[in-house]
Protein backbone atom coordinates (compact mmCIF):
# COMPACT_ATOMS: atom_id res chain seq x y z
CA UNK A 1 0.00 0.00 0.00
CA UNK A 2 2.80 2.40 0.77
CA UNK A 3 4.50 4.13 -2.08
CA UNK A 4 7.57 5.09 -0.12
CA UNK A 5 10.74 3.24 -1.08
CA UNK A 6 11.93 0.71 1.44
CA UNK A 7 15.46 0.33 2.56
CA UNK A 8 17.37 -2.88 1.95
CA UNK A 9 16.78 -5.61 4.53
CA UNK A 10 19.31 -5.80 7.38
CA UNK A 11 22.59 -7.57 6.61
CA UNK A 12 21.94 -10.30 9.18
CA UNK A 13 18.88 -11.41 7.33
CA UNK A 14 20.88 -12.06 4.19
CA UNK A 15 23.31 -14.28 6.05
CA UNK A 16 20.60 -16.66 7.14
CA UNK A 17 20.02 -19.70 5.00
CA UNK A 18 16.40 -19.14 4.05
CA UNK A 19 15.78 -16.88 1.06
CA UNK A 20 15.17 -13.23 1.84
CA UNK A 21 12.17 -11.59 0.29
CA UNK A 22 13.47 -8.46 -1.41
CA UNK A 23 11.03 -5.70 -2.20
CA UNK A 24 11.14 -4.17 -5.64
CA UNK A 25 12.68 -0.78 -6.04
CA UNK A 26 9.84 1.77 -5.80
CA UNK A 27 9.62 4.01 -8.84
CA UNK A 28 6.99 6.50 -7.70
CA UNK A 29 8.45 9.79 -6.42
CA UNK A 30 7.17 8.96 -2.94
CA UNK A 31 5.26 10.91 -0.39
CA UNK A 32 4.64 14.59 -1.09
CA UNK A 33 6.49 17.06 1.12
CA UNK A 34 4.28 19.35 3.24
CA UNK A 35 3.56 22.74 1.63
CA UNK A 36 5.90 21.68 -1.16
CA UNK A 37 4.86 24.43 -3.55
CA UNK A 38 6.04 27.12 -1.16
CA UNK A 39 9.52 25.73 -0.59
CA UNK A 40 11.06 26.94 -3.87
CA UNK A 41 9.77 30.53 -3.69
CA UNK A 42 10.67 30.80 0.02
CA UNK A 43 14.22 29.65 -0.71
CA UNK A 44 14.54 32.20 -3.50
CA UNK A 45 13.30 34.97 -1.22
CA UNK A 46 15.72 33.97 1.51
CA UNK A 47 18.59 33.99 -0.99
CA UNK A 48 17.58 37.44 -2.21
CA UNK A 49 17.37 38.82 1.34
CA UNK A 50 20.70 37.27 2.32
CA UNK A 51 22.49 38.65 -0.74
CA UNK A 52 21.01 42.12 -0.14
CA UNK A 53 21.96 42.08 3.55
CA UNK A 54 25.52 41.03 2.66
CA UNK A 55 25.75 43.95 0.27
CA UNK A 56 26.24 41.72 -2.76
CA UNK A 57 23.45 43.36 -4.80
CA UNK A 58 23.50 46.74 -6.51
CA UNK A 59 20.60 48.55 -4.76
CA UNK A 60 19.98 50.54 -7.95
CA UNK A 61 19.32 47.37 -9.94
CA UNK A 62 17.87 44.98 -7.36
CA UNK A 63 16.78 46.68 -4.14
CA UNK A 64 16.42 44.62 -0.96
CA UNK A 65 13.05 42.96 -0.20
CA UNK A 66 12.44 45.33 2.72
CA UNK A 67 13.11 48.36 0.49
CA UNK A 68 10.42 47.10 -1.89
CA UNK A 69 7.98 46.64 0.99
CA UNK A 70 8.78 50.08 2.39
CA UNK A 71 8.23 51.66 -1.04
CA UNK A 72 4.93 49.80 -1.35
CA UNK A 73 3.86 51.15 2.03
CA UNK A 74 4.89 54.70 1.06
CA UNK A 75 3.03 54.55 -2.26
CA UNK A 76 -0.02 53.10 -0.53
CA UNK A 77 -0.21 55.79 2.12
CA UNK A 78 0.40 58.47 -0.51
CA UNK A 79 -2.73 57.16 -2.26
CA UNK A 80 -1.19 56.60 -5.69
CA UNK A 81 -0.87 52.83 -5.37
CA UNK A 82 -4.53 52.17 -4.44
CA UNK A 83 -5.68 54.35 -7.35
CA UNK A 84 -3.39 52.56 -9.80
CA UNK A 85 -4.45 49.15 -8.53
CA UNK A 86 -8.14 50.03 -8.82
CA UNK A 87 -7.71 51.34 -12.36
CA UNK A 88 -5.91 48.17 -13.42
CA UNK A 89 -8.41 45.87 -11.69
CA UNK A 90 -11.30 47.65 -13.34
CA UNK A 91 -9.78 47.20 -16.82
CA UNK A 92 -9.03 43.55 -16.22
CA UNK A 93 -12.49 42.91 -14.81
CA UNK A 94 -14.35 44.58 -17.68
CA UNK A 95 -12.18 42.91 -20.31
CA UNK A 96 -12.38 39.53 -18.65
CA UNK A 97 -16.15 39.64 -18.17
CA UNK A 98 -16.74 40.69 -21.77
CA UNK A 99 -14.38 38.00 -23.06
CA UNK A 100 -15.93 35.34 -20.84
CA UNK A 101 -19.46 36.14 -22.00
CA UNK A 102 -18.42 36.26 -25.65
CA UNK A 103 -16.47 33.01 -25.43
CA UNK A 104 -19.29 31.08 -23.76
CA UNK A 105 -22.06 32.43 -26.01
CA UNK A 106 -20.08 31.78 -29.20
CA UNK A 107 -19.04 28.29 -28.06
CA UNK A 108 -22.65 27.37 -27.26
CA UNK A 109 -23.88 28.74 -30.59
CA UNK A 110 -21.17 26.90 -32.53
CA UNK A 111 -21.41 23.71 -30.50
CA UNK A 112 -25.18 23.29 -30.53
CA UNK A 113 -26.11 24.19 -34.10
CA UNK A 114 -24.57 23.34 -37.45
CA UNK A 115 -25.35 26.80 -38.83
CA UNK A 116 -23.65 28.38 -35.83
CA UNK A 117 -20.62 26.17 -36.31
CA UNK A 118 -20.37 27.10 -39.98
CA UNK A 119 -20.54 30.80 -39.20
CA UNK A 120 -18.49 31.00 -36.03
CA UNK A 121 -15.85 28.31 -35.79
CA UNK A 122 -13.80 29.26 -38.83
CA UNK A 123 -14.03 32.94 -38.00
CA UNK A 124 -12.76 32.46 -34.46
CA UNK A 125 -9.89 30.32 -35.68
CA UNK A 126 -8.99 33.03 -38.17
CA UNK A 127 -9.04 35.53 -35.31
CA UNK A 128 -6.84 33.22 -33.30
CA UNK A 129 -4.26 33.12 -36.07
CA UNK A 130 -3.73 36.89 -35.76
CA UNK A 131 -1.63 37.78 -32.69
CA UNK A 132 -4.05 39.86 -30.64
CA UNK A 133 -1.40 42.28 -29.43
CA UNK A 134 -0.72 43.05 -33.09
CA UNK A 135 -4.22 44.53 -33.24
CA UNK A 136 -3.31 47.28 -30.76
CA UNK A 137 -2.36 49.98 -33.34
CA UNK A 138 -5.54 49.37 -35.31
CA UNK A 139 -7.73 49.40 -32.22
CA UNK A 140 -6.19 52.68 -31.08
CA UNK A 141 -7.09 54.20 -34.44
CA UNK A 142 -10.64 52.85 -34.23
CA UNK A 143 -11.43 53.30 -30.56
CA UNK A 144 -9.02 56.01 -29.40
CA UNK A 145 -6.40 55.65 -26.73
CA UNK A 146 -8.93 55.60 -23.87
CA UNK A 147 -10.30 52.68 -21.89
CA UNK A 148 -12.44 51.08 -24.61
CA UNK A 149 -9.60 49.78 -26.74
CA UNK A 150 -7.83 48.31 -23.71
CA UNK A 151 -10.94 46.45 -22.63
CA UNK A 152 -11.51 45.26 -26.19
CA UNK A 153 -7.98 43.85 -26.48
CA UNK A 154 -8.22 42.08 -23.11
CA UNK A 155 -11.61 40.68 -24.08
CA UNK A 156 -10.16 39.22 -27.26
CA UNK A 157 -7.23 37.68 -25.41
CA UNK A 158 -9.70 36.11 -22.96
CA UNK A 159 -12.46 34.90 -25.28
CA UNK A 160 -10.24 32.84 -27.60
CA UNK A 161 -9.09 30.15 -25.12
CA UNK A 162 -12.51 30.04 -23.48
CA UNK A 163 -14.20 29.57 -26.84
CA UNK A 164 -11.74 26.97 -28.10
CA UNK A 165 -11.82 24.77 -25.00
CA UNK A 166 -15.55 25.03 -24.41
CA UNK A 167 -16.34 24.35 -28.05
CA UNK A 168 -14.08 21.32 -28.26
CA UNK A 169 -15.58 19.98 -25.02
CA UNK A 170 -19.09 20.52 -26.39
CA UNK A 171 -18.40 18.76 -29.66
CA UNK A 172 -16.55 16.01 -27.83
CA UNK A 173 -19.57 14.85 -25.81
CA UNK A 174 -19.57 11.06 -25.85
CA UNK A 175 -22.04 9.76 -28.45
CA UNK A 176 -23.01 7.02 -26.00
CA UNK A 177 -24.50 9.71 -23.77
CA UNK A 178 -26.45 11.06 -26.73
CA UNK A 179 -27.84 7.57 -27.26
CA UNK A 180 -28.70 7.33 -23.57
CA UNK A 181 -30.58 10.62 -23.76
CA UNK A 182 -32.57 9.30 -26.71
CA UNK A 183 -33.44 6.08 -24.86
CA UNK A 184 -34.51 8.03 -21.78
CA UNK A 185 -36.66 10.28 -23.94
CA UNK A 186 -34.99 13.53 -22.94
CA UNK A 187 -36.22 16.74 -24.56
CA UNK A 188 -33.66 18.83 -26.43
CA UNK A 189 -33.59 21.40 -23.64
CA UNK A 190 -33.04 18.78 -20.96
CA UNK A 191 -30.42 17.06 -23.07
CA UNK A 192 -28.47 20.32 -23.22
CA UNK A 193 -28.95 21.14 -19.55
CA UNK A 194 -28.33 17.70 -18.07
CA UNK A 195 -25.81 16.17 -20.44
CA UNK A 196 -24.19 18.68 -22.80
CA UNK A 197 -23.47 21.50 -20.36
CA UNK A 198 -22.18 19.41 -17.43
CA UNK A 199 -20.17 17.31 -19.87
CA UNK A 200 -18.52 20.41 -21.30
CA UNK A 201 -17.73 22.03 -17.93
CA UNK A 202 -14.25 20.48 -17.51
CA UNK A 203 -13.21 21.92 -20.88
CA UNK A 204 -14.76 25.26 -19.99
CA UNK A 205 -12.67 25.45 -16.83
CA UNK A 206 -9.48 24.76 -18.75
CA UNK A 207 -10.41 27.70 -20.98
CA UNK A 208 -11.32 29.82 -17.99
CA UNK A 209 -7.93 29.38 -16.36
CA UNK A 210 -6.15 30.20 -19.60
CA UNK A 211 -8.46 33.19 -19.99
CA UNK A 212 -7.67 34.55 -16.52
CA UNK A 213 -3.95 34.29 -17.19
CA UNK A 214 -4.49 35.91 -20.58
CA UNK A 215 -6.34 38.87 -19.08
CA UNK A 216 -3.35 39.72 -16.85
CA UNK A 217 -0.93 39.28 -19.73
CA UNK A 218 -2.98 41.62 -21.91
CA UNK A 219 -3.23 44.11 -19.08
CA UNK A 220 0.53 44.22 -18.48
CA UNK A 221 1.31 44.77 -22.14
CA UNK A 222 -1.38 47.43 -22.61
CA UNK A 223 -0.44 49.36 -19.50
CA UNK A 224 3.24 49.36 -20.33
CA UNK A 225 2.93 50.73 -23.82
CA UNK A 226 -0.27 52.70 -24.06
CA UNK A 227 -1.33 53.84 -20.63
CA UNK A 228 -1.79 57.13 -18.87
CA UNK A 229 -2.77 55.52 -15.58
CA UNK A 230 -2.68 52.21 -13.78
CA UNK A 231 0.02 49.89 -12.48
CA UNK A 232 1.81 49.60 -15.82
CA UNK A 233 1.91 53.39 -16.11
CA UNK A 234 3.38 53.58 -12.62
CA UNK A 235 6.11 51.11 -13.62
CA UNK A 236 6.79 52.94 -16.88
CA UNK A 237 7.28 56.21 -15.03
CA UNK A 238 9.55 54.48 -12.51
CA UNK A 239 11.68 53.20 -15.37
CA UNK A 240 12.20 56.79 -16.55
CA UNK A 241 13.32 57.85 -13.09
CA UNK A 242 15.37 54.72 -12.41
CA UNK A 243 13.21 53.64 -9.44
CA UNK A 244 13.70 49.88 -9.56
CA UNK A 245 11.93 49.47 -6.21
CA UNK A 246 8.71 50.90 -7.66
CA UNK A 247 8.98 48.55 -10.65
CA UNK A 248 9.30 45.63 -8.25
CA UNK A 249 6.24 46.85 -6.34
CA UNK A 250 4.29 46.75 -9.62
CA UNK A 251 5.50 43.24 -10.39
CA UNK A 252 4.62 42.14 -6.87
CA UNK A 253 1.06 43.40 -7.26
CA UNK A 254 0.70 41.75 -10.69
CA UNK A 255 1.97 38.51 -9.16
CA UNK A 256 -0.57 38.69 -6.34
CA UNK A 257 -3.36 39.38 -8.85
CA UNK A 258 -2.39 36.35 -10.88
CA UNK A 259 -2.04 34.05 -7.90
CA UNK A 260 -5.31 35.09 -6.26
CA UNK A 261 -7.37 34.89 -9.46
CA UNK A 262 -5.94 31.50 -10.41
CA UNK A 263 -6.63 30.13 -6.93
CA UNK A 264 -10.16 31.51 -7.08
CA UNK A 265 -10.85 29.77 -10.39
CA UNK A 266 -9.38 26.53 -9.05
CA UNK A 267 -11.55 26.75 -5.96
CA UNK A 268 -14.69 27.24 -8.06
CA UNK A 269 -13.60 24.41 -10.34
CA UNK A 270 -13.18 22.06 -7.39
CA UNK A 271 -16.61 22.97 -6.09
CA UNK A 272 -18.42 22.66 -9.42
CA UNK A 273 -16.60 19.54 -10.56
CA UNK A 274 -16.76 17.83 -7.19
CA UNK A 275 -17.74 14.58 -8.95
CA UNK A 276 -14.22 14.44 -10.35
CA UNK A 277 -12.52 14.59 -6.98
CA UNK A 278 -12.95 10.88 -6.44
CA UNK A 279 -10.84 10.25 -9.52
CA UNK A 280 -7.96 12.58 -8.83
CA UNK A 281 -7.51 12.00 -5.12
Amino acid sequence: MTTATTTAPPVQAQEQSHPVLRRRRGLSPGRRLPASRLIGPALLLALWAAAAAAGQLDPGAIPAPWTVLRTAGRLWSAGTLPTDILTSLERAAYGFTTGLAAGVVLALAAGLSRVGEALIDGTVNLNRAIPTLGLIPLFILWLGIGETFKIAIIAIVVYVPIYLNTHSALSGIDSRYVELAEVQGLSRFRFIRQIVVPGALPGFFVGLRLGVTGSWLGLVVLEQINATSGLGYMMFQAQNYGQSDVILVGLLVYGIFGLVSDSAVRLIERRVLSWRRTLSS
Binding site: R176, Y177, E179, L180, A181, E182, V183, Q184, G185, L186, R190, Q194, I195, P198, G199, L201, L273, W275, R276, T278, L279
Partner: protein, 238 residues
Protein backbone atom coordinates in the same frame (compact mmCIF):
# COMPACT_ATOMS: atom_id res chain seq x y z
CA UNK B 1 -46.47 -26.44 -25.48
CA UNK B 2 -43.73 -23.84 -25.53
CA UNK B 3 -44.98 -20.56 -24.11
CA UNK B 4 -44.15 -18.63 -27.25
CA UNK B 5 -46.31 -20.80 -29.49
CA UNK B 6 -49.53 -20.20 -27.59
CA UNK B 7 -49.99 -16.52 -28.19
CA UNK B 8 -52.84 -15.74 -25.89
CA UNK B 9 -51.90 -12.10 -25.62
CA UNK B 10 -51.05 -9.58 -28.29
CA UNK B 11 -47.32 -9.80 -29.06
CA UNK B 12 -45.25 -7.10 -27.46
CA UNK B 13 -42.93 -6.87 -30.44
CA UNK B 14 -43.86 -7.73 -33.98
CA UNK B 15 -41.39 -7.67 -36.86
CA UNK B 16 -42.43 -8.24 -40.46
CA UNK B 17 -39.83 -8.36 -43.20
CA UNK B 18 -37.39 -6.27 -41.19
CA UNK B 19 -34.36 -5.46 -43.34
CA UNK B 20 -31.36 -3.37 -42.36
CA UNK B 21 -28.14 -2.82 -44.28
CA UNK B 22 -24.89 -0.96 -43.77
CA UNK B 23 -22.99 0.30 -46.81
CA UNK B 24 -24.62 -2.19 -49.13
CA UNK B 25 -24.13 -5.16 -46.79
CA UNK B 26 -27.43 -6.64 -45.66
CA UNK B 27 -27.24 -7.32 -41.94
CA UNK B 28 -30.88 -8.19 -41.30
CA UNK B 29 -32.65 -9.83 -44.21
CA UNK B 30 -36.43 -9.80 -43.95
CA UNK B 31 -36.88 -10.98 -40.39
CA UNK B 32 -40.34 -12.03 -39.22
CA UNK B 33 -40.56 -12.33 -35.47
CA UNK B 34 -43.09 -12.08 -32.65
CA UNK B 35 -42.10 -11.57 -29.06
CA UNK B 36 -45.08 -12.31 -26.79
CA UNK B 37 -45.74 -9.99 -23.88
CA UNK B 38 -43.89 -11.02 -20.75
CA UNK B 39 -41.54 -13.45 -22.46
CA UNK B 40 -37.84 -13.63 -21.70
CA UNK B 41 -36.03 -14.10 -24.99
CA UNK B 42 -32.30 -14.38 -25.54
CA UNK B 43 -30.70 -13.55 -28.86
CA UNK B 44 -27.51 -15.39 -29.71
CA UNK B 45 -25.18 -14.91 -32.62
CA UNK B 46 -21.61 -14.39 -33.70
CA UNK B 47 -20.21 -10.90 -33.59
CA UNK B 48 -21.39 -9.16 -36.72
CA UNK B 49 -24.46 -11.36 -37.02
CA UNK B 50 -26.76 -8.39 -36.52
CA UNK B 51 -27.83 -9.00 -32.91
CA UNK B 52 -27.16 -5.45 -31.88
CA UNK B 53 -28.60 -4.09 -35.11
CA UNK B 54 -31.85 -5.90 -34.39
CA UNK B 55 -31.92 -4.63 -30.81
CA UNK B 56 -31.18 -1.08 -31.86
CA UNK B 57 -33.91 -1.26 -34.51
CA UNK B 58 -36.45 -2.32 -31.88
CA UNK B 59 -35.18 0.42 -29.54
CA UNK B 60 -35.61 2.98 -32.32
CA UNK B 61 -31.97 3.98 -32.16
CA UNK B 62 -31.05 3.35 -35.80
CA UNK B 63 -31.65 6.80 -37.29
CA UNK B 64 -29.06 6.65 -40.02
CA UNK B 65 -29.47 3.03 -41.06
CA UNK B 66 -30.98 2.08 -44.42
CA UNK B 67 -33.82 -0.37 -44.01
CA UNK B 68 -37.38 -1.45 -44.65
CA UNK B 69 -40.06 -3.61 -43.06
CA UNK B 70 -42.66 -3.26 -40.34
CA UNK B 71 -41.94 -2.99 -36.66
CA UNK B 72 -44.36 -2.75 -33.76
CA UNK B 73 -42.97 -2.19 -30.29
CA UNK B 74 -44.49 -1.04 -27.00
CA UNK B 75 -44.56 2.57 -25.89
CA UNK B 76 -42.45 2.02 -22.79
CA UNK B 77 -39.10 0.57 -23.77
CA UNK B 78 -35.98 0.59 -21.59
CA UNK B 79 -32.48 -0.27 -22.72
CA UNK B 80 -29.58 -1.61 -20.67
CA UNK B 81 -26.24 -1.27 -22.41
CA UNK B 82 -23.04 -3.24 -22.02
CA UNK B 83 -21.49 -0.33 -20.17
CA UNK B 84 -23.57 1.06 -17.33
CA UNK B 85 -23.58 4.44 -19.05
CA UNK B 86 -24.08 6.36 -15.84
CA UNK B 87 -23.38 10.08 -16.19
CA UNK B 88 -20.30 10.70 -14.04
CA UNK B 89 -21.52 14.16 -12.99
CA UNK B 90 -24.81 12.95 -11.50
CA UNK B 91 -25.19 11.07 -8.28
CA UNK B 92 -26.56 7.54 -8.48
CA UNK B 93 -30.15 8.48 -7.66
CA UNK B 94 -30.08 11.38 -10.15
CA UNK B 95 -28.81 8.97 -12.78
CA UNK B 96 -31.68 6.62 -12.10
CA UNK B 97 -34.10 9.54 -12.40
CA UNK B 98 -32.64 10.87 -15.65
CA UNK B 99 -35.53 12.23 -17.67
CA UNK B 100 -38.07 12.00 -14.85
CA UNK B 101 -39.02 14.50 -12.19
CA UNK B 102 -41.27 15.02 -9.23
CA UNK B 103 -41.51 13.62 -5.73
CA UNK B 104 -43.28 10.50 -6.90
CA UNK B 105 -40.53 9.67 -9.37
CA UNK B 106 -37.94 10.15 -6.66
CA UNK B 107 -39.69 7.64 -4.44
CA UNK B 108 -39.84 5.17 -7.29
CA UNK B 109 -36.15 5.76 -7.92
CA UNK B 110 -35.28 5.01 -4.31
CA UNK B 111 -37.44 1.90 -4.41
CA UNK B 112 -35.77 0.72 -7.62
CA UNK B 113 -32.32 1.23 -6.11
CA UNK B 114 -33.36 -0.74 -3.04
CA UNK B 115 -34.66 -3.48 -5.30
CA UNK B 116 -31.31 -3.92 -7.02
CA UNK B 117 -29.53 -3.87 -3.65
CA UNK B 118 -28.19 -0.34 -3.77
CA UNK B 119 -30.18 1.19 -0.91
CA UNK B 120 -28.00 3.70 0.88
CA UNK B 121 -25.88 4.46 -2.19
CA UNK B 122 -28.27 7.09 -3.58
CA UNK B 123 -25.83 9.94 -2.98
CA UNK B 124 -22.74 8.11 -4.29
CA UNK B 125 -20.97 9.22 -7.46
CA UNK B 126 -20.82 6.64 -10.26
CA UNK B 127 -17.03 6.59 -10.02
CA UNK B 128 -17.37 5.24 -6.50
CA UNK B 129 -19.29 2.15 -7.64
CA UNK B 130 -17.82 -1.19 -8.65
CA UNK B 131 -18.60 -2.56 -12.11
CA UNK B 132 -21.38 -4.77 -10.76
CA UNK B 133 -22.90 -1.95 -8.70
CA UNK B 134 -22.83 0.39 -11.69
CA UNK B 135 -24.69 -2.19 -13.78
CA UNK B 136 -27.21 -2.61 -10.95
CA UNK B 137 -27.77 1.14 -11.00
CA UNK B 138 -28.28 0.93 -14.77
CA UNK B 139 -30.89 -1.80 -14.19
CA UNK B 140 -32.62 0.43 -11.64
CA UNK B 141 -32.63 3.26 -14.18
CA UNK B 142 -34.40 1.06 -16.70
CA UNK B 143 -36.82 -0.39 -14.13
CA UNK B 144 -37.99 2.91 -12.72
CA UNK B 145 -39.79 3.64 -16.00
CA UNK B 146 -41.85 0.45 -15.63
CA UNK B 147 -41.02 -0.76 -19.13
CA UNK B 148 -43.23 -3.11 -21.08
CA UNK B 149 -40.14 -4.16 -23.00
CA UNK B 150 -36.63 -4.38 -21.61
CA UNK B 151 -33.85 -4.53 -24.17
CA UNK B 152 -30.44 -5.57 -22.89
CA UNK B 153 -27.36 -5.44 -25.10
CA UNK B 154 -24.81 -7.80 -23.53
CA UNK B 155 -25.43 -6.20 -20.14
CA UNK B 156 -23.09 -8.52 -18.25
CA UNK B 157 -20.36 -8.74 -20.85
CA UNK B 158 -17.94 -6.53 -18.94
CA UNK B 159 -18.47 -8.14 -15.52
CA UNK B 160 -16.39 -10.80 -13.82
CA UNK B 161 -17.75 -14.33 -13.62
CA UNK B 162 -18.88 -14.21 -9.98
CA UNK B 163 -20.60 -10.86 -10.33
CA UNK B 164 -22.23 -12.14 -13.47
CA UNK B 165 -23.83 -15.08 -11.66
CA UNK B 166 -25.29 -12.70 -9.07
CA UNK B 167 -26.57 -10.41 -11.80
CA UNK B 168 -28.26 -13.34 -13.57
CA UNK B 169 -30.21 -14.13 -10.41
CA UNK B 170 -31.10 -10.47 -9.98
CA UNK B 171 -32.32 -10.08 -13.55
CA UNK B 172 -34.43 -13.27 -13.32
CA UNK B 173 -35.95 -12.02 -10.07
CA UNK B 174 -36.72 -8.58 -11.47
CA UNK B 175 -38.27 -10.09 -14.58
CA UNK B 176 -40.42 -12.45 -12.51
CA UNK B 177 -41.65 -9.57 -10.34
CA UNK B 178 -42.28 -6.93 -13.00
CA UNK B 179 -43.16 -9.14 -15.97
CA UNK B 180 -41.78 -7.05 -18.82
CA UNK B 181 -40.93 -8.68 -22.12
CA UNK B 182 -37.16 -9.06 -22.19
CA UNK B 183 -34.89 -9.30 -25.20
CA UNK B 184 -31.36 -10.11 -24.06
CA UNK B 185 -28.58 -9.96 -26.62
CA UNK B 186 -25.64 -12.12 -25.62
CA UNK B 187 -22.85 -14.22 -27.07
CA UNK B 188 -22.84 -16.50 -24.04
CA UNK B 189 -24.76 -19.73 -24.73
CA UNK B 190 -24.89 -20.72 -21.06
CA UNK B 191 -26.18 -17.32 -20.04
CA UNK B 192 -28.94 -17.60 -22.62
CA UNK B 193 -29.98 -21.07 -21.39
CA UNK B 194 -29.92 -20.08 -17.72
CA UNK B 195 -31.93 -16.89 -18.16
CA UNK B 196 -34.29 -17.20 -21.07
CA UNK B 197 -37.47 -19.08 -21.89
CA UNK B 198 -36.69 -18.89 -25.54
CA UNK B 199 -33.41 -18.61 -27.39
CA UNK B 200 -33.03 -17.30 -30.92
CA UNK B 201 -29.88 -17.79 -32.98
CA UNK B 202 -29.27 -15.11 -35.54
CA UNK B 203 -27.19 -16.03 -38.55
CA UNK B 204 -26.78 -14.71 -42.09
CA UNK B 205 -29.40 -12.02 -41.57
CA UNK B 206 -32.14 -14.36 -40.38
CA UNK B 207 -33.29 -16.44 -37.43
CA UNK B 208 -31.41 -19.74 -37.81
CA UNK B 209 -32.85 -21.42 -34.72
CA UNK B 210 -35.81 -20.71 -32.47
CA UNK B 211 -35.56 -22.85 -29.36
CA UNK B 212 -37.92 -23.03 -26.39
CA UNK B 213 -36.10 -23.71 -23.12
CA UNK B 214 -38.10 -25.88 -20.75
CA UNK B 215 -37.49 -28.03 -17.78
CA UNK B 216 -34.53 -28.25 -15.48
CA UNK B 217 -30.88 -28.97 -15.52
CA UNK B 218 -30.83 -32.39 -17.29
CA UNK B 219 -32.15 -31.03 -20.55
CA UNK B 220 -29.84 -28.04 -20.57
CA UNK B 221 -26.87 -29.97 -21.93
CA UNK B 222 -28.89 -30.85 -25.01
CA UNK B 223 -29.92 -27.26 -25.53
CA UNK B 224 -26.32 -26.28 -25.30
CA UNK B 225 -25.26 -28.72 -28.00
CA UNK B 226 -28.13 -27.69 -30.22
CA UNK B 227 -27.33 -24.00 -29.87
CA UNK B 228 -23.61 -24.46 -30.37
CA UNK B 229 -24.31 -26.48 -33.50
CA UNK B 230 -26.52 -23.70 -34.82
CA UNK B 231 -23.69 -21.26 -34.14
CA UNK B 232 -21.29 -23.53 -36.01
CA UNK B 233 -19.15 -24.17 -32.94
CA UNK B 234 -17.78 -27.63 -32.30
CA UNK B 235 -16.19 -28.31 -28.94
CA UNK B 236 -12.97 -30.28 -28.95
CA UNK B 237 -12.85 -33.45 -26.86
CA UNK B 238 -11.43 -32.50 -23.48
Amino acid sequence: MAPHTEQLTRPAVQLRGLTRSFEGRTVLDGIDLDLPAGQFTALLGHSGSGKSTLLRAIAGLDHKVVGSGQLTAPEKVSVVFQDSRLLPWRRVLDNVLLGLDGKEAEQKGRAALAEVGLAGRERAWPSELSGGEAQRAALARSLVREPELLLADEPFGALDALTRIKMHALLRELWRRHQPSVLLVTHDVDEAIVLAERVLVLDAGGVALDLAIEGDAPARGEYREQLLAALGVTEGVG
